[in-house]
Amino acid sequence: MSDRIIFEDVSKFYGEILGVNRVNLCIPPGITSLVGPNGSGKTTLMNLMTGLVQPSRGHIEVLGYPTDDPENLFKFVGYSTQFDAFPKGLTGFQFIYSYLCLSGMPLQDAERTAWQAIERVNMVDAASRKVAAYSKGMRQRIRLAQALAHNPKVLVLDEPLNGLDPLARSEMIALFRASATEGSYVIISSHILHEVDVISDQVILLSNGYVVAEGQIQSVRNEIQEHPTQILIRCDRPRELAAKLFESEYTIEASIHNDGRGLLLKTRDADRFYLAMNQLALNGLQIESIAPADDDVLSVYEYLIGNEEVVR
Amino acid sequence: MAVYRRNYRPYSGTQTREWSRFLVLFRYSRRNLFRSKVQTGFFVLCFFYPIACLVMIYLAHSASFLAKLGVPSQLISIDSMFFFRYMSVQGVLSFLMTAFAGPGLISPDLANGALPLYFCRPFSRVEYVLGKSSVLGILLSQITLIPGLILFTIQASFAGASWTWNNLWIAGSLVVASLICISILSLLAMALSAWVKWRIVAGALLLAVMFFGAGFAQAINAVMHTDSGHFVDVAYLMAAIWIGLFRVEAENSITAFPALIALLVYCCICLWLLMRKVRAFEVIR
């Protein structure tokens, strides 16, 4: 009886097409983000861990349960898919309600729980309208409600923020946070890296069906030795600063911004630079901003997966 | 020595005429149609009977040859009955052709939500329908109308002026008959495919409408001891009109005029369906 989501070198092929290949994962509680280009196997991974597809090879265990046993699995797993379609002719409420009924819940409990779920994604006023008439964001939210409805321990969310407006985004993120701190497993796939940066405890980078990296962003970033840390400094006299910086041996490269008010520094030892920076700042340099340019998911993404063309 | 960056270029050149825009749709849809081998094969198949007719016409006018064969020359007589038979055979073929080619015209556009892309341009719904239906129109007239007229002219050239003069009305009936056939078939096909946005099912539905209509017509007649059941049978109605047009003796319990009215009603229903479905966005309340 493990308390992890475990992939033991799992492969999935659709006919000849590669879904994911030789994946070994052990996902702990907290918010885990799946990041990767389209068709890199994020959705396949999620379908695998919810048993919507079965692996061609290898073995998957979700908190100790096999994935080919929906009756038990979905007692503690909730999955909000990317498929933007619903059973015909249902209202938002009926959608959640009937889902809960399917699990054999007594009707009045189901009704109560459904309303609770709908409140959590605040769709109450729209709940009695047909899903067909919903906007993209509303559909997205009602799907989330369906995944959340039975308070699952494992939440699998495929692009949950897609098509949500900024307010809803922050609400949802708060929601995920909350359930993560309660010790449940939230697995999210997203394309919006600056959000991933903020919300996720650990990331899994996928590319062409392979896991290229997993773990906390910082540690992943530090793993990548070949790329020195980049720091962006905006100040009034960047050339002077550059000249000074070049005196120290940990500076590898420094380039001046086109507007002449910025300096991009590549250094082998960030910490020593920061200390030195304090000194430099003292002698008459007007510093507007300092920011590490590449410690976020975006840069990790670009280093590992690369800014490959959309056309594959 | 120069460096050219490829970037966006505005356009302020000439524009094509407004009225000719629907022909664009016509061209492209037609090209798609004939991409399928089966389609092309079937299209060729549709010309076997006209060729046979051609041969018959030739034989009918080479009495000596017939004599050699020992066939009495009046066996083959090229008259309105001949053209009526031609029309009915080609009519069946063109129906099959419609069931095959028709649904593919509109339903993919609806299924893939392409309509907004058409209608955000200076291009109206009417033009859209016009363009799409013109594909079927031309296709079917290539099967029915054009070969028919060719046969008629050949026959005329063989038979001489007097025959031509006396039988000119046959040409007229040919035109009218095939126009009726074409319009009802293409409208039916398009309306159905716009209604169920799924190509294959639309095709099946077209067949169903025909056969179920025929069956139900018989049921009605059997139960009610009447003949008016045939009004739900499109094929029968068409036949009725043709019989009227070609002035042939064939047993048919409906006269041409009421049949024509019925067909017109069906056409209107189809058009209404079409116009309800062909929109940029369906407003869901």
Binding site: P37, A126, K136, G137, L275, E309 | Y11, S12, Q15, R121
Partner: protein, 322 residues
Amino acid sequence: MTQPGAPVSESRSSPTGVPSVPLIELNGLTVRFGNRDILRGLTASLRGRAIGLLGPNGAGKSTLINTLLGFYKPVGGSAKVFGQDIGTNLRNIRRLVGYMPENDAFVSKMNAVSFVRMMGELSGLPSRVALERAHEALFYVGLAEARYRQLGTYSLGMKQLAKLAQAIVHGPKLLILDEPTNGLDPSARQRMVRMVREIRDSREMRIVLCSHLLRDVEDTCDEVLILKGGQIAHYSDLDEERRSNKRFVELEIYGANGDFTAAIEKLGCECAVAANRMKMVLADGVETRDIFRIAAEQQVRIRRLNFRRDTLEDIFLKAMES
């Protein structure tokens, strides 16, 4: 022959690039489905080169766009695009507009070239020109290699690009983008944003962009129109908004203890600390230099220091509260 040039020459006339005739003019525009009012008497005149259309779900963004394109008929009020009324000369407006819808839209049995070409011809290009421009457009959006493949086989991102290509093929004067970066992966998104910015700066096209990703709007647009519940909640010029409060400083510091904060507060700046992040308001007379001095004294490493600008997010949130 039509004259797509007319309103544009006006837009060129003014040196600032802001034309005399407003791009879009709404007065009292009202749209209703059944008994639900989707747009309630919008009144505005938009002049920007790239206008961001923001708002929560169901605020009526898409409805507004569809109404401008004449897909929905307003029950009240009127709207003008390039000074042409959507009621009376819709055809002229459509001649000047390129539209990229939100949901995916394509013709499955066609390859990209003939698809874009057909769309070009439908909006009036002569066949040869259309072919030429179709290729150009596809190159431009970056579907170069894939442009002979059938659209049915395209991935989501590629379909988006194809949609963009068909929207610009006929050289419109106004490009309407409904959620263009929706579902694109990071690299594709960056590319799309870059492209939109290029188009904007090329000054050949005005842009109306409707998106939920504030980051994208901020990167591409110079004006924002924020809708809420079918009404205009806010309309403003982004650059001006950004030129406000310069005194907020955000820090990310390592190796610090209570003393650092204490020292900062001794300077007379009130500050809020969360983990190793720190927000403060510089008291007047205090400069960043002072912060660095304290850092130097206490061997604190400042990983991040910047003046917080009034970002679009704040604007948006403000608009929502109002």
